[in-house]
């Protein structure tokens, strides 16, 4: 690809980007949130048509007017947004658009068999091909999407942040598959915000910044990480995890969870968080961590147990009660659970607090916008225009909106589910610092993350969760990544 440009209603997402991919290599694309990575690969996948620039495929200039055209050339894509259809089964999703059929009649048995093969390759032979995708967790949806990419006869597979919703075990599986692919001469374009992954499987790197390529085809070995970060951000970012401030001994308990259970998902979860403390929940995908947070928050109705916050026991299954008690949740799936995509940023930021800007029901939108703008600046949201619809932001910036929401609402207990999913290095350090600062200011924080390193680096105390049970509660400095994984493995096996 060369000289690719693309703009959306006034935003120049790409300004003459070049990208060259060799057969059998893993080509990583790096860049901050909003740098244009997804837009670039969407033009390569036929989902967007570029305003200018040419795409050359095996020596020939090609036009990719539709995804179909790209697929026919041998380009398969896993998109950043989960692109599965909830109402279809796993197998149907995988073969969507290229169904196994004779004269229009589906060969369900064959599709299921092949699906099982594909899932097996991905280390998920246990996922039934006829299960409806709507009932799967985000991680499993990602697996389905990966299996779909593999189901095509491809020369090039594009993966847009595939590891964002995966835990470390899953990522290992993914890498194994990627190595198989490259060994068979298939090229992989790999986008991620986790630089250590690039070290593990990447061959060459292209870096985007503000819609321009700042580096093309850098070899992975021989390019230091700090150089990459500088290319991406134009500055240095060190010390990703800020130092913890010690919690005062007399800090009151801000959130207390006792014997909390949700039938069939998790049982007897108990812990307490003091003001200024950060608790992390570590565990594998599907261990029920999201459900624990959602149940504490009242978004799911607990079958037993109590949650105390703000000095009282919360009503089960009442989000409003939780919010009133000063709890805030940043949900796992930001698009479906967090954002009003068509509404401007500032209204998304004030979604849980706008009534504070109202007198007698009448909103003072100027004040509202002002307060939201403060947070937009503080979190470095790009673009910093409070009136832009949330839909047009890149994934990382959308995540920041959710954090800003609870900052505006001045909550005292923050429940963060995958707060840095899809967030770039710079912003990630920023968010870590922010979480720390909040804790230092006396907020209690509960973090769920699939990156064990993140949990360990950020939390004061770690709860290791497997199969809906809390296996252990330890200080974060008394355990390392292997320790957690060992625990999880044993817990799951038992």
């Amino acid at each position: 690809m060369s000289g690719i440009s693309k703009s959306f209603a006034g935003v120049h997402a790409l300004k003459g980007v070049d990208l060259e991919i060799a057969a059998g290599e893993v080509h990583c694309i790096l860049g901050q949130n909003g740098a244009g990575k997804s837009t670039l690969i969407k033009t390569l996948a036929g989902a967007h048509s570029p305003d200018s620039g040419t795409i050359t495929w095996s020596g020939q200039d090609v036009e990719l007017p539709s995804p179909q055209a790209a697929i026919e050339l041998g380009i398969a894509t896993m998109y950043q947004e989960l692109d599965v259809v909830d109402g279809l089964t796993v197998a149907e999703n995988i073969f969507l658009g290229h169904e196994l059929a004779v004269g229009g009649m589906l060969r369900t048995g064959e599709a299921n068999a092949r699906t099982r093969g594909l899932l097996g390759r991905l280390g998920h032979g246990d996922l039934p091909p006829s299960r409806e995708v709507g009932s799967l967790s985000a991680a499993n949806k990602q697996i389905v999407s990966m299996a779909r990419a593999l189901s095509h006869d491809t020369k090039l597979i594009i993966m847009d942040e595939p590891s964002a919703v995966l835990d470390s075990e899953e990522v290992k599986n993914l890498f194994r598959v990627v190595r198989e692919l490259t060994a068979a001469g298939i090229a992989v374009v790999y986008i991620t915000h986790r630089l250590e992954e690039i070290r593990e499987i990447g061959d060459r790197i292209t870096v985007l910044k503000d819609g321009r390529s700042t580096a093309n085809g850098l070899p992975v070995s021989g390019t230091p990480t700090s150089e990459l970060i500088r290319l991406m951000t134009g500055r240095d970012v060190e010390n990703v995890f800020p130092a913890a401030t010690p919690i005062a001994d007399d800090a009151p308990v801000a959130l207390e969870v006792e014997g909390l259970s949700l039938d069939g998902v998790f049982s007897d979860v108990g812990f307490s968080v003091r003001a200024g403390e950060i608790i992390g929940l570590a565990g594998l995908v599907g261990s029920g961590r999201s459900e624990i947070l959602e149940t504490i928050y009242g978004a799911r109705r607990a079958s037993s147990g109590t949650v105390r916050a703000g000095g009282r026991t919360l009503r089960r299954g009442s989000v409003r009660d939780a919010v009133r008690a000063g709890i805030g949740l940043s949900p796992e799936e930001r698009k479906s659970q967090g954002l009003l995509l068509d509404e401007p940023i500032f209204r998304n930021v004030t979604l849980s607090s706008f009534s504070r800007f109202a007198r007698g029901g009448f909103l003072d939108e100027r004040r509202e916008r002002g307060v939201a703008a403060e947070q937009i600046d503080a979190l470095e949201l790009r673009p910093a225009d409070p009136d832009r619809p949330a839909r047009t932001l890149s994934g990382g910036n959308q995540q920041k909106i959710l954090l800003a929401r609870w900052l505006v609402n001045r909550t005292s207990v923050l429940l963060l589910d995958e707060p840095t999913r899809g967030v770039d290095v710079g912003a990630r350090a920023e968010i870590y610092a922010l979480i720390r600062r909040l804790a230092a200011n006396g907020d209690a924080v509960v973090v769920v993350s699939s990156e064990i390193e993140e949990v360990l680096g950020l939390a004061d105390t770690v709860l290791v969760v497997a199969d809906g049970r809390v296996l252990t509660t330890v200080k974060s400095d008394q355990i390392d990544e292997h320790g957690v994984l060992d625990l999880v493995m044993k817990g799951t096996a038992a």
Partner: protein, 350 residues
Amino acid sequence: MSESKSQTISPAESGPEEPQPAPARRFTARSLLSGAVGRNLGLILALAALFAVGAITAGDRFTNIDNILVIIRLASIIGVISVGMTFVIIGGGIDLSVGSVMGLASVVATLSAIQAAAENSTWLVMVFTALAVGLAAGFLNGFVIAYGKVVAFMATLAMLVAARGLAEILANRQTQVIRISEFIDFMNSDLLGIDMLIWIFVIVAVAGWILLNRTTFGRRTVAIGGNREAARLAGIAVRRHTMYLYALAGLTAGIAAVMILGRTTAGTSTHGTLYELDAIAAVVVGGTLLVGGRGTITGTVFGVLIFATLTNVFTQNNLSTSVQAVAKGVIIVIAVLLQQRFAGQGAKSD
């Protein structure tokens, strides 16, 4: 902590630090303005085209002020209902029952007036009865939808059928004539040369606009329609608010009942038949998305006016009903096309 980072940001950024609030707000005002006109440009064009056709084909008969008032009067009753419908649809629902609730309210109100005939205060009783019936039916709809979790389409379809049946039973299928001259005189009076009917429409539309754009109620409505789950997780009482939305639609149906009583001096179970379709059509032509989350009162008002003008132009031109129907179909498509083209991103790209 944020100092070092802002160099990364995109070109628009003026200096190294602190975006000034002033240009931001200026930008906002401008974009809002252009947004409102832009969003409705297609509708304005469609309406203007209809006016041009009317003026050319029927000349002064069409353009004189009295005829304009005739058009607005015609639009006013559906208009009031459409304002309530706009809220329900923006909130992600639909209300098929408004027309028959209006019929029911008109019947109950006239019966109450006949019952209370001796008293002096009769006509206020009648008005309140109509509003109360509308509100109660709306609350019932909302309750069944929000707490019973019955799909709005079915719940209000059930109400459509049931309210019409109840109205027939109560009215014994007879048209109840109102003989309270104070009421009729009041409803037929005018203020500054504008009919009471039109005033009511204007007041309801303005109140609706304020409610949607300037209050927390409106904000919640958009949030619920845009992303119900996100609204719930943000701590909005989604079910209660949903119930209020249908109550509001019911209330507008009650107001419409009072208006039709004033206009026809009679209450009957057939009042409001198929008004739900007209209202939904006006709301959708006005650019409100049927899936919820986005819509405007201004658009709805334009939608109502377009349909009323269309009818008037047809009447003025003595077209056969069937030809009118065909022409109407074509014009609807053109109006929607115009509206969507000019609303720009309004239509989701496929």
